[in-house]
Symmetry: C2
Subunit: 205 residues, 2 copies
C-alpha cells in the first residue's frame, strides 16, 4: 500500500489511522510547494489532484471519510470503528462528513479561495472571514458533538485522527484549541499516542 | 422514523433511499422560505440548522453520506450498497464524500455565499463563478468517476439518488445534464423508478 500525502494536510488523518491499524504501507510525498498535486504525473494517479490517495491492492481510494472507514473495516482487530452497530457507525460517519464538508471547507477559504472566486478582493474577503467560520464550527463541535474523552465517547476511533489533524490548522487562523476545552484535551491525548508521534515525525522527514 | 427535509434539497437523496429500502417513515417539512432551519425549535432538534436529519429509534442522524450508508446497512435486503466488500463500499463512500464536500459545496456558493463572506461583492463573485465550478465537477465525474449504468457500475446503490438529487440543481446554474451523457442517462433511468417518482411527488405536497 502507498499513501500519497502532503505534510500536515488532511492526509495526516489517514496516515495516523494506518499506523493505529498496524498496516504496512509506504508514504509518497506530493510536494505542494511545487504544485505537484496539479502535475500531469499525479493527475494520472488521482484525477482530482488532491491528497490523500491510498493505493491498495484493489485500486486507488480517495476522500478521507471513505479511506478512514475502509481502514477501520479492513483492520477490524484494531477496533477503530463500531463496525457491528450501524447506528454508532453512522454517528462516526456523520462526524467525519461534517469535518470534510464543513470544517475542512471553512479552512480552505483562507488558502484556496481561487476555487470559488477569480476576483482577488473576493478571495481576500473569504480569507478575512475564515477564522470566524472555523471558530463557529469548533464551537458547534465542542458544544453539541464531542463529549470526550474521544469523539465517539469512551471508544477511540478513526474520527479522532481526523479531528486532531484539522485542529492543528487552528493557529493558521489565529485560533487556539484551548478555546474548546473538550477538543483541546482530546488533542493532548492524541499527542501521547505512538501512532500520532510516528506520523508527525515521518511527515517531517 | 422521521425525515426532516426541504423540497428539492439534498435531503431528497435520503428520502429516495428510504423508499428504495422499503422503510416506514414520516416526512417533516422544514420550511426554508420561512428560514425554519434556523429557528430555535429546529435547532433544538438539529443544532446544525440544516437538512436532512433522520430521527431514528436510537437518535438523530445528520449528514447525507452517513444517513445513506446507515440506510444501506439497516436494510441489507434492499441491496443498496456492497456491504460485504470493504473496497467497493469505500468506492461508494468516496463518491458520496466527493458529492458532499466538493459538488454540494460548489453549488452552495451560488446560494449561500454568506457562509464564507460578508461583503456583497464577494458573494456576487462566488455566485458568478459557481456554474464554472459545478461544470468542472460534473466533467470530472463524467470522465473519471461514473461508468454507468449506475454510479457503481451494474449495481444500483445509495450513490445514485445522491447524484440524481444534485444533478437536478444544474438548471439553477444555467447548466444541463445533457452535457454529461453518462450522468444524463443515469438521471433518465432514475426518473423511471417508482421510489424516485413517489419521493418527488411527496415533496411537491
Amino acid at each position: 500500500m502507498k499513501l500519497y500525502y502532503a505534510p500536515g494536510s488532511c492526509a495526516r488523518a489517514s496516515h495516523i489511522a494506518l499506523r493505529e491499524a498496524g498496516a504496512e504501507f509506504d508514504l509518497a510525498l506530493v510536494d505542494f510547494t511545487r504544485a505537484e498535486q496539479r502535475s500531469e504525473a499525479y493527475r494520472a494517479i488521482n484525477p482530482k489532484g488532491r491528497v490523500p490517495a491510498l493505493e491498495t491492492d484493489r485500486g486507488l481510494l480517495t476522500e478521507t471519510p471513505a479511506i478512514l472507514a475502509w481502514i477501520a473495516q479492513s483492520y477490524p482487530d484494531a477496533g477503530l470503528a463500531p463496525l457491528n452497530d450501524p447506528f454508532q457507525f453512522a454517528r462516526l460517519q456523520s462526524f467525519n462528513a461534517y469535518l470534510c464538508s464543513t470544517v475542512h471547507v471553512a479552512h480552505a477559504h483562507s488558502r484556496r479561495g481561487e476555487r470559488w472566486a477569480d476576483d482577488q478582493a473576493a478571495i481576500d474577503e473569504m480569507k478575512r472571514k475564515a477564522p470566524e467560520v472555523m471558530d463557529s464550527c469548533f464551537r458547534l463541535m465542542e458544544t453539541d458533538m464531542v463529549t470526550g474523552p474521544w469523539v465517539m465517547g469512551e471508544a477511540y476511533s478513526v474520527a479522532d485522527p481526523y479531528l486532531f489533524t484539522i485542529t492543528q490548522w487552528l493557529p493558521a487562523h489565529g485560533l487556539t484549541s484551548t478555546s474548546y476545552p473538550t477538543i483541546h484535551a482530546l488533542v493532548q491525548r492524541m499527542l501521547e499516542r505512538p501512532a500520532v508521534q510516528d506520523a508527525i515525525s515521518a511527515e517531517a522527514g
